[in-house]
Symmetry: C2
């Protein structure tokens, strides 16, 4: 039997095979990364290749002929049914006839890259935990007493090299009917190459996964196609636990005051997860049964309540987590077997410490400070700020009790980010007159058509990013002093400064509602930003750096604030402004990475183990940094530069994370 040389590009893998070998088989034997769900039956079209043209002298092939078999009738059928780009072949149908160079296009690779929009983060290689495998199973006969399951296992072993699989009972319960309905051709879903979790009659190549960030306030879910990595639907809804308390500690208190209260809250969050799953499935027009994976992140209290664990211990020193390891569960463990496929696997990212949760682990996985040479500071602001600092050699983490002021809570005119909330503010340095923009409108308040643009909602209050901007603008306009006092003397220049007992307020909007910035509001933001800054400073001190190379602001708050203003107010340490960026819902992105790439799970588990945790509550230096950080920053050279930068151009559009547009759109 004569042999021929085949060279696969871009891998460069090469080998000699008997003439007549199918190219998919040759690729498999060489370990070339070519996708296939149907196992070489011309059904899935995943294994497409291009046969090289021209001279291949550099590959040691002395021929320009196309040394493969002709386009087959099977390929023609596939082309007419599903379409095939000119020049493409199905490698499972293409026969080796002589020396040849074969190009494997990116979309035919098993571990194809999922494109992320932000340049500074790495691509995700597609390698999900649950994989699909089409097989033909031997029919039973009287001479072979083996069970149908054992014959299915044999097919998976012989056709897909899957060894020693176990099966979920629900699969075995439907196995015989499914095999017969599919006429002994079925598609199996296998988790982690170990566990048979679903079986469908005939061929199918659709499977989906869900990545969810369970925040104290909102639950954000992305539904991803596990074969492309694309987000096919996103949705967010309020965390229904809010009725038990606005912030984390009030929910922990609820459990302390109402023994068994954790059961109610667990039920509430799981029902919300079921609801949001239904929502994204409906939006993507898929059956919930096709959702085979889910990955969850959340802060430690959300993490514990999701798992049905009483979070009481997180409410007081020593803030002991019930567990910090990553969890591999089944949908039924979380009562989610009705919301997705019964065989769906759940992965929960590890927690880092009692106040630094699986959400922070998600942020770390998304932003990968552990892969960088430069020193990154990654800050995820919620009711607690979770802060990670480090580089490829060392990582530190802490949490800092910022309180809910950044989210608009405990601010006189404050509200959550939602249509109608003021999010951008400018104050004229001379007249001290303000103008602002609200969420849901592109117009400034002094532009014509503003009232119409805000529509029925009107202006309802001010959200976190608006508060940051108004305070920074008040400071830059001289209305607030460095130590945070609203200057009553300015009342002579504008009627917007008004007395408020023994302190003063700035009136941002007259009318309904009347929105003022009070001295109490300024103090609340000062406390929050001092806590945030002190946490960062503490980590820098432990790490041994005076300055960080890069600052990443994660989370909704980080996405909506203008980073320039954040630095004006001193929320974050000094850093080259070009290296300060918003990462959007990085926790959610981390969940999505863990969903699409099972190696990423092992990676974050390893990284989390080596993160050094700093407990702010027992660090005397934290208090000192906190007190020092109450004032607004000194007029250093950089600060002057900043004020100038702010005064001149219109506010830049903020970079959003991939999923952010959808999330924002649906925030209402």
């Amino acid at each position: 039997m004569s042999e021929a040389l085949v060279v696969f590009t871009p891998s460069g893998k090469r080998g000699r095979f008997p003439v007549g070998t199918r190219l998919l088989e040759a690729a498999r034997k060489l370990g070339v990364d070519i996708d296939s769900v149907c196992g070489g039956r011309a059904l899935c079209g995943r294994c497409q290749i291009t046969v090289g043209q021209g001279s291949f002298a550099k590959h040691g092939i002395d021929s320009s002929a196309e040394h493969v078999g002709p386009f087959t009738a099977t390929e023609e059928r596939y082309r007419s049914r599903k379409g095939l780009i000119e020049g493409r072949r199905l490698s499972c149908q293409t026969i080796l006839e002589g020396d040849v160079v074969i190009d494997v296009p990116p979309e035919s690779q098993v571990h194809k890259q999922v494109v992320r929009k932000r340049a500074e983060v790495r691509e995700i290689a597609l390698d999900p935990s649950t994989t699909l495998h089409f097989v033909e199973v031997q029919e039973p006969d009287m001479h072979d007493p083996r069970g149908d399951f054992e014959r299915l296992l044999e097919a998976l072993r012989e056709q897909w090299q899957l060894e020693g699989l176990t099966a979920d009972l629900h699969v075995l319960q439907r196995l015989q009917k499914t095999l017969r309905k599919g006429e002994w051709k079925v598609t199996a879903a296998v988790h982690d190459r170990k566990r048979l979790v679903e079986i469908w009659p005939g061929f199918t190549d659709r499977a989906y996964g869900l990545a969810v960030d369970i925040g104290s306030t909102t639950i954000a879910a992305h539904l991803c196609d596990l074969s492309t990595g694309e987000v096919v639907a996103s949705s967010g809804l309020m965390n229904p636990q809010i009725r038990f308390g606005e912030d984390l500690m009030s929910r922990v208190s609820y459990v302390m005051m109402n023994p068994g209260g954790e059961v109610e809250m667990t039920q509430a969050v799981r029902e919300a997860l079921a609801a949001v799953t239904g929502e994204v499935a409906a939006e993507a027009k898929i059956e919930r049964d096709l959702i085979m994976e889910a990955v969850f992140v959340g802060n430690p209290v959300m993490h514990h309540l999701l798992l049905g664990i009483d979070p009481t211990e997180l409410g007081g020193a020593p803030f002991a987590l019930a567990l910090d390891s990553a969890m591999n569960l089944r949908a039924s463990d979380l009562d989610l077997d009705g919301a997705m496929n019964r065989g769906a696997s759940i992965y929960v990212l590890p927690c880092i410490a009692g106040h630094v949760g699986a959400d922070a682990a998600g942020v770390v996985l998304s932003e990968t400070p552990y892969l960088r040479d430069d020193v990154s500071l990654v800050v995820d602001v919620g009711t607690n700020a979770e802060i990670v600092l480090g580089d490829r050699n060392k990582l530190l983490a802490c949490s800092s009790p910022t309180g809910p002021a950044f989210e608009g809570a405990q601010i006189s005119g404050g509200q959550r980010a939602a249509p109608g909330a003021i999010e951008r503010v400018r104050i004229d340095r001379e007249t001290l007159e303000p103008r602002f923009k609200v969420i849901g409108s592109d117009l400034w308040s002094n532009e014509s058509g503003f009232a119409e643009a805000t529509g029925r909602t009107g202006v309802t209050g001010i959200c976190g990013s608006g508060i940051i901007e108004v305070l920074a603008e008040m400071f830059l306009a001289g209305i607030i002093s460095r130590d945070g006092v609203i200057d009553g003397g300015m009342a002579t220049r504008t009627a917007r400064i008004e007395a408020d007992g023994r302190t003063f307020s700035y009136v941002l909007q007259e009318g309904e509602p009347r929105i003022r910035i009070t001295q109490t509001d300024v103090r609340a933001i000062q406390l929050a930003k001092a806590a945030l800054y002190a946490g960062s400073k503490l980590l820098m001190e432990h790490f041994g750096v005076e300055k960080v190379d890069r600052v990443t602001l994660a989370g909704a708050f980080g996405s909506h604030i203008d980073t320039t203003y954040a630095m004006v107010l001193g929320l974050i340490p000094d850093c080259d402004l070009a290296k300060v960026q918003a990462a959007g819902n990085a926790a959610g992105t981390g969940a999505r990475i863990a969903l699409l790439n099972k190696q990423a799970r092992r990676e974050i588990e390893r990284v989390v183990k080596r993160i050094e945790k700093i407990e702010t509550a027992i660090e005397p230096r934290f208090q000192q940094h906190f007190v020092e950080a109450m004032a607004f920053p000194h007029k250093t050279a950089e600060y002057v530069h900043l004020t100038r930068a702010v005064a001149l151009p219109a506010p830049k559009e903020l970079a959003h994370d991939e999923g952010d547009g959808r999330r924002r759109r649906r925030r209402a």
Copy 2:
């Protein structure tokens, strides 16, 4: 540091250790088999030893002194609390002070033998899947952000060498409260050294397991103490599926006629299992929560219905099992998490073929034909007979459709074995007058006091063993011919022979109820015994033997029939009568072995894989053997010997399996 030699008996393992070493530690390091649940804290008392006295010259120890530390206050406390045999020490408290010989008594060995009553079967070494481990866990503090679970894992790793454990979610949900309640001392139950399935505050050393044989008619359960292997309670109840059909095929038909009927039957059998579990727990006066393991066996239809699998495919050729592999499940998979500990593990033995189930696998595990040099025939008679033949080199199995006649069904006066049923019959060779015994009474019907002894029940019918005996006696008395015809000519000798249309009957009891043996009854038993015999013969032919060395009759029927009569009627092939024995509920015993010894699970899985299955339905020779076996045996020399043996002595008492007394007592 000086060292001393320690020799452990009976293992003979020896080694030198520093003076001051605790003997339990020395034993561990040498791999000496000493039990411990508390991990050396003088709580469990499992690690008792005896310090050798006298001269140990043969061990190379030139001293007769007792070279160990003195009896400690801790041991004294243990003795006063729980008792300690004179001369015994706790090895965890005994200090090595010089060369010494230490005896480990059998009850201190981890893998102690569980004594079985029958001499011909091997002992069971105690080695259950779920083990208990007492640990002290490090308390959390602010400098150690690890979760409580991770600190528990560390304790299990350091104190018990348990690596890489995962945990059931329900354990994690209660972990923090349990650790605090136990003041950081807890007992963990670990399944297969892999999965943490339960945790109790403080020290406990009690855990139980359940072995259940799910028969078509009865469910027999044994509750075992996992630390001693003892059966602490047994119970049997009717399989409630009987309301869907008396025999297997009628239940399969029920599903065929009532789609979804398998769901009802699954629910019925699982509810019965929960009920029987409650019954044995109550009898043993233990909490259900202490039941950590269950093992189930059953024929293929029962096996499938237990697992929630539609048995329809078992109702017709090619009789395809949904699966034949052994199953490792959790209690919740079978809705049994309320009936036992939530973390309890379930093991279901493998099936052999479409008509040879996990019950047959249990029989094989109990009777171990695969360990013998001689050729054994093992027969488990139910509605189908499951037959295994072979030796250490080769095993064959088949099932044979005996029908329910042996169980008293489809016999005119027949009934299930229960008080009031005739089980022993003798017919006077001259007068042709019968006498009989009923279940629940020790008197013959012609003895005085018989009527009183049968009590309120009276004589209700005739069960399987009674039918065998009456037919054999009728044959021996000449009432039935070799080809099974009741001889009407005998009516001249006794009024008990009466015409019945064109055939004749023998009246066993006048009165209420009138019990007759009709020609149809004889035919039914002939068909059943021919099927049984033909199955055995077919296997012998495939194996290549003319004669078997040993016959074991398993199951209730096998326990109750007199093996001599079984051979008179030709139910089983010729064999030395001394080598024909009843094994009682061997399927249940197999379940108990798999419960107490996890290696036995691997063993039966391996053995089942190499059993060669013979499908009687497609073997033309089976029909031939069947036809030939319809008649009663020839008067060979052996047969004459048999008839003589039967005619003379009173029926011998039958050997029963260990659990059988209880089962029989409760059969009512």
